[in-house]
């Protein structure tokens, strides 16, 4: 009984623990269409074996996995506009999302004409 309670508490703590990872949208220059090209970089502690990216439209919808397994503390080019991005860490089938998000808006490279 005591073991069960202890195990339950440990699982409870793990489930609710905040995953200390972060993601940044980075300016990777200008595309041929005159729009900003985005990159994504992320940082996370090495205690999690597997790192993935998830994205969803900032206009609504569900989270979707992007690509496959990622390197730790790395970066990639971000192919989609108007998406919200986050990293997900998994360990033996147990996954949790980081509590920091980054948005890659559709934005022009050149300064807009006015306020």
């Amino acid at each position: 009984m005591i073991k069960r309670v202890l195990l339950g508490c440990i699982l409870c703590v793990v489930t609710k623990a905040s995953f200390a990872g972060s993601i940044n949208a980075e300016d990777w220059g200008c595309g041929g269409n005159g729009l900003k090209v985005w990159g994504l970089s992320w940082q996370e502690p090495w205690v999690y074996p597997d790192i993935y990216l998830e994205y969803r439209s900032v206009f609504g919808g569900d989270w979707q996995f992007y690509g496959g397994l990622l390197e730790h503390n790395d970066c990639i080019s971000s192919p989609y506009y108007d998406q919200m991005w986050r990293i997900v860490a998994c360990d033996g089938g147990f996954c949790q999302a980081a509590s920091l998000y980054a948005y890659t808006p559709t934005a022009p490279c050149d300064p807009p004409g006015g306020r």
């Binding site: 905040s18 900032v58 934005a107 006015g114 306020r115």
Partner: protein, 219 residues
Amino acid sequence: MIRIIGLLWLMLFAYPSVAKEFRVVGTPVCVTNDQSQRCGLQWENMSEPRRAYVIERFRPGGYLGNSVFGPVAAELDSVGETWTALTEPLKSLDSLAENTVDGGYLYRLLACHNYEKRERCVASRVHWVPLLFDSTDDIPSVVYDRSLEGYAVARDTPIWVQEIQYNVYLLIQTLDYAGGVSLPPMSRPLVGPESNDILDLTRSQLVHRAVFGVYEGKR
């Protein structure tokens, strides 16, 4: 049994009232000069004159606005009003735009025969007044929601890009706090989120395009 009925009655009638829905007529448009961060709202296509006109700002319960301490402070004010009048009832439609408003909030214009009793009112579409900045130094790096999840502003990007991100994050906060409150449609941007034809837009129009997509997707 009586206690249960009493409790049910309380749940049904003592719950904080939500915003009353009005028929939607016309659209607010921000008229401002380049020297000012603030915005005067003009009511376009308002075809039904009334005796009283009011500017209302949407501030859902618990949401205190554009503060980095919002999630903490919000706990102290868990039940707030939804739509708050920013002016006394005005007698003419033209005088609305003389009362400028802050960026970073949702607004609507309300016209009634009797504003206090909300008699024969019509409302405009909702309009997000963009929060624009003179310097990127003034834009917070992260916006936290009430679950202490953070939304990062990309620091190495130009000001118009950070403005889009920051305004979208503020709107997400507003809608998160709004919960199930029913909201009217938003004023349509010049270029909607379905198009990437944005190279000729101003900074305000870029924000409008993005927040419109978020708002209509979530409300």
